[in-house]
């Protein structure tokens, strides 16, 4: 299995990225603050207004290192990509499949079935581990309802039907999401899932984690030669990485939601680390963002047995593995796409 390399997160607003031969340099006030060989990197994510030299961008393109730019608040702005990987024939298959309702729906069902089962597993975990802390009856009922949805999904004839079931599942899941909080319950209550802009701390946290996951999913798809912008469930929209959002569906509960809950439950972040603006929108402060990034990096190193391949790999490679499995399905190596299920 491929090695899991580092992602470099640059959060200093006055940082400037440059390179010196094979090394990536981070400079601030004309001083070199950090240096790392490019072959240790999988991606670089810049938050806020960090500058980068064209030579560094060139190096990233050449070495297949994904260089993304996000706003200081974590909104994805763009990325520098090279022409290094890519099989135009594979992408053509992707486009044809995306235009073909039957195939698009079939794949959408896979993504969403896994998402629903994984959300269910997240709820199930808290019921099992902390039965005294939760509303057992209501949770049990939600878990059961969620478990029945993949079967209904199989009947879905088009994208709207799939999205309908997905929406229903998401509502059910997020209504019970607060049950997962075992400490700081009041401060991190989620009202409902809202994104732009987030209006409670949990939403701010989730949005940020989803952005990190997007970066990794986009990079994973690109590295196997798929076009991250052309999806099956998510429709094309300029600038939207629809396919990355598709494969993220199955990854969100385990990668992002559980991590958010853990951060709160272990008091690794606190309510004070969030700024609430006059209009009610909520932003993370720098220290909180750093704490989240550190936890995210650590989480990626954790090993997990991939449910389909039945091999042990670091969690951080899962987006890459799923992208690869999807590409193999498109190439005809596999008879169907095996999404990621977390049990």
């Amino acid at each position: 299995m491929r090695r899991l390399l580092n992602t470099l997160y640059v959060t200093m607003p006055d940082a400037y990225l440059a390179c010196d031969g094979e090394n990536v340099l981070i400079k601030a006030q004309d001083e070199i603050k950090f240096r790392i060989p490019v072959h240790n990197l999988e991606g670089i994510v810049c938050f806020g207004f960090a500058g980068a030299s064209p030579k560094l961008m060139y190096l990233c393109c050449e070495r297949g290192v994904a260089l993304s730019f996000l706003t200081g608040y974590g909104k994805f702005m763009g990325r520098v990509t090279g022409n290094v990987s890519g099989n135009v024939l594979l992408r053509r298959t992707q486009y044809r499949w995306s235009d073909d309702n039957n195939t698009a729906v079939r794949l959408s069902r896979r993504f969403i079935a896994a998402k629903i089962m994984n959300s269910r597993a997240v709820l199930h975990r808290v019921l099992r581990d902390h039965p005294e802390a939760v509303d057992q009856d209501s949770l049990r009922r939600a878990i059961q309802l969620l478990a029945g949805m993949p079967k209904r999904l199989e009947q879905a004839k088009d994208g709207d039907a799939v999205r309908g079931i997905e929406g229903e599942a998401a509502r059910l899941y997020f209504t019970h999401f607060n049950e997962l909080l075992l400490s700081q319950k009041d401060d991190f209550q989620i009202a409902d899932r809202n994104r732009r802009p987030p209006t409670d701390r949990m939403n701010a946290l989730l949005s940020f984690l989803y952005t990190l996951l997007t970066h990794e999913s986009v990079a994973a798809l690109e590295s196997v030669g798929l076009d991250p912008q052309v999806g099956f469930l998510h429709r094309d929209r300029p600038g939207r990485p629809s396919l990355a959002l598709d494969i993220m569906e199955e990854l969100r509960p385990h990668f992002a939601d559980r991590l958010a809950v853990t951060l709160v439950n272990r008091n690794q972040i606190s309510a004070k680390g969030f700024v609430i603006k006059e209009n009610g929108t909520v932003l993370m402060d720098d220290d909180t963002r750093k704490a989240v990034l550190t936890a995210w990096q650590k989480r990626k190193q954790e090993e997990i047995v991939h449910p389909y391949l039945e091999i042990k790999i670091p969690l951080g490679l899962i987006p890459y593995v799923q992208a690869m499995l999807l590409a193999r399905y498109m190439r005809g190596d596999l008879e169907d796409y095996p999404p990621f299920f977390w049990k």
């Binding site: 299995m1 491929r2 290094v84 089962m117 389909y308 391949l309 596999l334 169907d336 095996p338």
Partner: protein, 230 residues
Amino acid sequence: MAIYSEDDFLMLSGIQHMAFCERQWALIHIEQVWSENVRTVEGKHLHERTDDPFEDESRKTLRVVRAMPLVSHTLGLRGIADVVEFYQSKEYEAGKVCRLEDRTGWWRPAPVEYKRGRPKRDDRDAVQLCAQAMALEEMMQVSVVSGFLFYGQTKHRESIAIDATLRQHTVALTQRMHQLFREGITPKAKKGKHCSQCSLVEQCQPYWMTQHRSVEAYLARMCCVEEEDR
């Protein structure tokens, strides 16, 4: 034999990948899978030239040409020869010698391919040399009877006869390359001993697909909820 148009040309150096493993060739040349190992191979030769104990450019009877672009319309390949050596011939030999722009007399060309490692068990280096020889023949209207493989690790230079068997294998490999490329096929992995020395083993993952698991059974298993979960 087919005459390929420039549009259909493939990379000459790819023939060594093809001889090693069809899938490896397809991953590099069709899928354009990126691998540092593969990409830097060509550039790295340059540094090893200086190690070549046989190199002597000052001889009046030898002309050493570096980085010579080659094309072959019959093979449909394009590439660059590391080095082509031209040996002065005392006399004219029909079909064996050619003229050089800036020199007088008759010259006999021989391609030299530099390899970082050591001699291989298989003929992947020889077929690459042979393809170069065949391209040279086509371009300079001369027949090439032998060439050299120089191995950096052993500092050894081997003379390779460009004979009929080698030519046939070279042509067969080239035709297969064109067929796969035309049809856009990446052959499935054939797991074998060679995988352990393959620079693309991470991207290829031959072990995933050879022990095939049913996706259908997997989906059924993962979506049906066990009793204890309730």
